[in-house]
Amino acid sequence: MVWSWIPQNGTIIWQYTLDNLLLGLLPPLIGLAISVPLGIACARWRPLYPPALGVASGIYALPSLALFVVLIDYTGLGNVTVIIPLTLFSLCILLPAVVDGLRGVPEPVRQAATAMGFGPLRRLAQVELPLAIPVVNAGLRVAVVSSISLASLGQLIGVSSLGYFFIDGFQRDFPTEIYISLFLIILMALICDLLLVIAGRLLTPWRRDAGGISQAQTRAAEAVGQGAT
């Protein structure tokens, strides 16, 4: 470990960390924006879900590097070539989370909402989506953590990220670079995960002390998290 390497390269480390963070965060956010409406559609029109899930799982099984290579022909050696596969990966995790979250809304609650005069849209916005938050958030945590670490692969096609130090450290036989960038990736992932946990708690005040329904939802959320990792 050569500690002096850190202050000597402070600027470039900071730059690559920021690049990696943005490259890691953008895909899950885009994935969320797509999977919420898609998940709502799948939860409503059930026959839509199996094919949608099949396609998503198929994509998830592809090696990301292979996707980069395929995409280079269309989108070139740029951010977009990295963001597209990572967004697809996030989608694979988030789509089931949204659908499971919406399906996890207890039927009596849905029925009571309808019987009290909620129209379908209002019911979705005021009852079903809020109740799906814990499960969706669990999926989002998995997607963000994996996306931040996968973003470092972008360096292989020249998109700047902490992956630069992996390659450089390996080529120069200088492990300090590798350790530092590894540490930074893990740190970023943990911080983002923690922020999502806090956001989840703020958004779901009713779950502060676990009771019947919220416990069931916690279990569902954990099941999603385990399934995705």
Binding site: P106, P108, V109, Q111, A112, A113, T114, A115, M116, G117, F118, G119, R122, V127, P130, L131, T204, W206, D209, G211, G212, I213, S214
Partner: protein
């Protein structure tokens, strides 16, 4: 008033849930739909607020066909309570109750004020409960919130689908009493679905008994259902002890009481024996002073062994046992008190506990026959109060429910 006009519900797979139902629910009354599973009672209920659409026939609410109304607006005018409560887990108790007012466009503060009023009405303390979430309440409390939520926008109609089936028997009984009390105050048009015929008879002004296959067997007052079941099906459905249960509907006020053998404790043994002999009674009831509280029973067989000049208050008396109040209790309560008494006699008291007289099997038999004959001829019979026990303080009840676990 709710009118079912030849309503049929047939599902795509060919199952007929409700078959040509004609039914009228009078305004301001509780109509209980009761029957075995799959008899179409819940389907019938859900067609009123259009959670289920009929295949044919029409349902009118105060003359207006519900099919013609906008479903969401229709539903905001119809309270709905279900067994699993369907409370919103993510909303506080006051916001759950305020749901319909908020949907109807009330200001937030007005809706919350209304919610707190309703919490008091159903026996929940707003100060401690308003900001809690549903999972922090016991089953009985959640069901009270469900009722409050259904009443929030003051709808003229209330639909209740097995509202008390998921709570334990003690809480269920108190919720039923509460419903009867609320109904006396609010006069809603209530349709309540249950599979429990006891509940139907207890809370219903009218009871509609369904047969499997979505047919009506009988629609009548609870007393008539017990007294004049239309056929064997209804007879079996209401149970073997319907004769006894029917007595709940006859007031004990018509009972002729024995008063001659009620004697004060200062009466001498000789006088008491003379009174008993004149009345032909083997027991006299001893009170502490003339007309005051009952002390116990003295048997004539014991009296003969005592010095004739001694007072009744000095001897050992058989316990009084359960008493009944003719002004509020039913003949069933009077009969029950008589059965439980070792003297085969029961003591009638007034509201302050003063003895009004005593009754026996013979006297009860006469009163029961008279009431049944009058009822069978369709004459008005004085009916007993719906809830025999004075309702406990709502707050005390809520406190009791808190112990039944969350």
């Amino acid at each position: 008033m709710i009118t079912f006009d030849h309503v049929t519900k047939r599902y795509p797979d060919g199952t007929v849930a409700v078959d040509g139902l004609d039914l009228e629910v009078p305004a301001g009354k509780i109509m209980v739909l009761v029957g075995p599973s799959g008899c179409g009672k819940t389907t019938s209920l859900r067609m009123i607020n259009r959670l289920v659409e009929p295949t044919s026939g029409s349902i009118r609410l105060d003359g207006q066909d519900v099919q013609a109304a906008n479903p969401s607006e229709l539903r905001r005018g119809i309270g709905y309570v279900i067994q699993q409560t369907g409370l919103f887990p993510h909303r506080t108790i006051e916001d759950n109750i305020a749901t319909v007012p908020l949907l109807a466009g009330w200001k937030k503060q007005e809706a919350r004020d209304r919610a707190r009023d309703l919490m008091t009405l159903v026996g929940l303390e707003p100060e401690t409960m308003a900001k809690r979430y549903p999972h922090q309440l016991s089953g009985g409390q959640q069901q009270r919130v469900g009722v409050a939520r259904a009443l929030a926008a003051d709808p003229p109609v209330l639909l209740m689908d097995e509202p008390f089936s998921a709570v334990d028997p003690i809480v269920r009984a108190s919720l039923q009493d509460e419903l009867i009390r609320l109904q006396a105050e609010l006069q809603k048009t209530v349709v309540l679905v249950t599979h429990d015929v006891e509940e139907a008879i207890k809370v219903g002004d009218l009871v509609a008994i369904f047969r499997p296959g979505g047919h009506l067997a009988q629609v009548d007052t609870p007393e008539r259902i017990l007294g004049a079941p239309i056929d064997e099906y209804v007879q079996d459905f209401v149970g073997f002890d319907r004769g006894i249960r029917r007595l709940s509907f006859f007031a004990a006020a018509g009972l002729k009481l024995e008063t001659d053998t009620v004697v004060a404790r200062s009466t001498t043994v000789a006088d008491a024996m003379a009174i008993a002999a004149r009345a032909g009674e083997p027991w006299v009831l001893v009170t502490d002073d003339a007309g005051a509280g009952p002390l116990g029973w003295a048997a004539t067989s014991d009296l003969s062994a005592r010095p004739s000049g001694s007072q009744l208050g000095d001897m050992r008396l058989a316990p009084v046992g359960h008493t009944f109040r003719p002004e509020t209790d039913s003949l069933r309560a009077a009969l029950d008190a008589t059965i439980l008494s070792r003297t085969e006699r029961a003591v009638a008291v007034d509201g302050s506990g003063q003895v009004l007289g005593t009754t026996s099997y013979e006297r009860l038999r006469d009163a029961i026959s008279a009431a049944e004959d009058a009822a069978d001829r369709g004459e008005p019979v004085p009916t007993a109060a719906r809830v025999a026990q004075p309702a406990a303080e709502p707050a005390a009840q809520a406190a009791a429910e808190r112990t039944d676990g969350t």
